[in-house]
């Protein structure tokens, strides 16, 4: 399935019905499915999964929001309704292993759903990708063939790094995608600081002077980075807004997008 000069690549994202023998479910999540910007992260993921030959499937319409935002907003019953529906759907398709590129979905599967009988092996996409690189299923071209990468900083999502302790896998991937380019912010890993979107704040208005995203983006820009890498679609939105508010010429990208780029996908 690797791209060749002659034929354009045919990226496949089979549904659970098309590929019932899938090994891992790619949980795209609401942002990855509906948000124009986050859809590009989904596409980068599909390219990477195809390239590595991962036997995966997507639900493509059968799933609902995990309800994570609803639960953190305090609407427990809406959350439970959504969770029950998803747990039934996942059981129907015999899902055991899930990968998601949204830490809020990851936390819902890791910490919320087991309370209601939904227990799965759950990976954040950076963990799965780091594993694929380690297994040699994703090969990044040798360093010498590429130009010196511009400085990058990585913003740890709260629900990934602090709440679930996942902070090394994204850094391992960035070390491949942009060797030696990482400039850490003072508050990183489990001491990371919020982008402003958690706890349902993604869906609330904020006066410009009080935007958490502007403050965190300022911290990211202070590292001198030309790219702000993130590992969460909410952080992607917030950091993009924050960078734009300061008028800096800096791109904000998901780690998977940067990895796909370095692979020429």
């Amino acid at each position: 399935m690797n791209p060749t000069p002659d034929s354009p690549p045919q990226w496949k994202a089979p549904t659970v019905r098309e590929n019932p023998g899938f090994e891992i479910l790619y949980w795209v999540g609401c942002a990855g499915a509906y948000d124009r910007r986050a859809q590009r992260v989904t596409r980068a993921m599909v390219k990477l999964l195809n390239t590595a030959g991962v036997n995966f499937a997507v639900l493509a319409g059968e799933e609902k929001c995990t309800g994570e935002s609803a639960r953190r907003l305090g609407d427990e019953f809406l959350f439970q309704e959504l969770a029950q529906a998803n747990i039934e759907t996942l059981a129907r398709h015999k899902v055991r292993k899930i990968v998601a590129h949204c830490p809020h979905c990851v936390n819902a599967f890791l910490k919320d759903y087991p309370q209601f009988g939904g227990a799965y092996e759950v990976l954040h996409h950076t963990q799965l990708l780091a594993g694929l690189v380690e297994q040699g299923r994703l090969k990044v071209p040798a360093e010498g063939s590429r130009q010196e990468p511009l400085p990058i900083t990585y913003h740890d999502p709260c629900y990934l790094a602090r709440v679930n302790g996942i902070h090394q896998a994204p850094r391992d991937l960035l070390a491949l995608a942009a060797p030696g380019a990482l400039r850490e912010m003072g508050r990183c890993r489990d001491k990371t600081s919020c982008c402003g979107a958690g706890g349902g704040r993604m869906w609330m208005e904020e006066t410009p002077a009080q935007r958490v995203s502007t403050q965190r983006a300022g911290e990211a820009l202070a590292t001198g980075a030309k790219t702000v890498a993130v590992g969460c679609p909410f952080c992607l939105t917030m950091m993009t807004d924050g960078v734009a508010a300061s008028g800096a010429e800096v791109q904000v990208k998901d780690v998977a997008e940067l990895l796909a780029e370095s692979l020429g996908l």
Partner: protein, 433 residues
């Protein structure tokens, strides 16, 4: 001669009896104060403490182990106190000094009681005595150093740290206890005149004796010793009685909360339908709807302000400080000292405003950074549950919830379009949005 000193040396029998009487009174005041706090905590929802005590010993030990581990590592080992520069250093010095002095005083009393049974049981002598005296002098100095660092810090009034008038009293009492302790030692060395290692094993007392008490007669030294001994004793007994009534309560509530607090970030307790049907409520509207452990955690807080410093909402001038939420809830809990009808120990509105609750991003930075495992996110989420159940959520967040309900996604886009991104795969890449 074997180096030693007589416990209650130079103190008359009458004074000893008065001392023990006052010690009983101080302990009673301590117990009464603590009982009052426990009575407040117990008004919360039960947390199944009885279950901790049921079953075989093996089962009990396996249930106690995680809590005991946290007390050992995070309490005695101070793991979660570290990482805040001067404040952590000051607390480490004061804490280690305090614990060693407490252990030392306890051993002294054990020796004294053992000696009453038989003089052969005395162990406060010889090599043990030398090690004991030197160790206690050293940790006494560390204790005083910690107090001075805290005093220095409090004078500078860092904005995130809570300030109560009683804090000055506590620090002054600590300093006075440390200083009078050493003065008593110096005066005792003065009249006892120990020789050789019996004197040098108490370096601070020896220094005080040779530097400041030079030329004092034995009578003066003995009288001074009795006076300072009483000052020291009264300060210590007063301090014991004050523990449950000041910030020192964290000696008890801190380790207890470390042991009992649910230890995992990102986990919320589920609301069970049966419970809602039985109680007719969701979340917390009255402070007693918190669990007993959550109420206990309010007393574990010493207002160190780490949560406030880590809070992104506070940093962007929103009306939320996790520390203030904890303290304001604590205020309501204290009102329960006199009976309050069910539902009237309200925590919303004037106590914790809706705009405060909605400012939280649930990022959990406050919960992670708390040295005694207070969980402001967990408290805020229970309060949010109440607001949502009351139907008071409005604005864009309410819209997002309605969309999640009707379209199963927060954008409110048609569920049928959830798979639309797949088509974009084979098409040429869309222009940047």
């Amino acid at each position: 001669m074997t180096p030693t000193r007589e416990t209650f040396g130079n103190i008359s029998d009458g004074s000893r009896w008065v001392f023990y009487g006052l010690a009983v009174a101080a302990t009673a005041l301590f117990a009464w104060g603590l009982h009052r706090r426990v009575a407040l905590w117990r008004q919360g929802r039960p947390i199944g403490l009885r279950a901790l005590l049921s079953g075989s010993w093996r089962e009990r030990i396996s249930r106690w182990r995680p809590g005991a581990r946290r007390i050992a590592i995070e309490g005695l080992g101070q793991e979660r106190v570290r990482g805040r520069g001067l404040a952590s250093g000051a607390h480490g010095l004061l804490f280690s000094g305090f614990m060693v002095l407490l252990l030392g005083t306890t051993l002294l009393e054990v020796d004294h009681l053992a000696g009453m049974v038989s003089s052969n049981l005395h162990f406060h002598q010889g090599l043990y005595y030398r090690v004991y005296e030197t160790t206690l002098d050293l940790f006494g100095v560390l204790f005083l150093a910690g107090c001075l660092l805290f005093l220095f810090r409090r004078v500078r009034r860092p904005p995130s740290v809570g300030h109560r008038a009683s804090d000055w009293g506590v620090l002054a009492a600590f300093l006075a206890i440390g200083v009078t302790g050493f003065l008593v030692e110096g005066l005792r060395i003065g009249w006892q005149r120990p020789e050789g290692v019996g004197a040098t094993c108490s370096p601070v007392g020896l220094w005080i004796s040779t530097t400041f008490l030079h030329g004092w007669g034995e009578g003066e030294l003995r009288r001074g010793h009795v006076v300072l001994w009483w000052v020291h004793s009264l300060l210590v007994l007063g301090f014991i009685a004050a523990i449950p009534h000041t910030r020192l309560l964290h000696f008890i509530a801190g380790p207890l909360n470390l042991a009992l607090a649910p230890a995992t970030l990102g986990v919320l307790p589920p609301v069970r339908m049966e419970e809602v049907e039985a109680t007719g409520r969701v979340g917390v509207g009255d402070v007693r709807h918190f669990t007993q452990q959550q109420l206990l955690s309010l007393d574990a807080c010493v207002e160190c302000g780490r949560c406030e410093e880590a809070c992104p909402a506070f940093a962007t001038a929103k009306p939320l400080s996790p520390k203030k939420v904890v303290q304001d809830l604590r205020g309501v809990m204290e009102s329960l000292a006199t009976p309050v009808p069910e539902g009237e120990a309200g925590v919303h509105g004037a106590v914790v405003g809706a705009e405060t609750l909605w400012a939280c991003t649930a990022c959990s930075a406050c919960t992670r950074v708390c040295p005694v495992r207070v969980d402001p996110v967990g408290l805020i989420l229970e309060l949010r549950r109440h607001l949502v159940a009351e139907g008071t959520l409005s604005g864009t967040a309410a819209v997002a919830l309605r969309r999640m309900q009707s379209s199963s996604n927060p954008w409110g886009l048609p569920p049928g379009e959830r798979g639309a991104w797949i088509e974009g795969l084979s098409k040429p890449p869309a222009p940047s949005a």
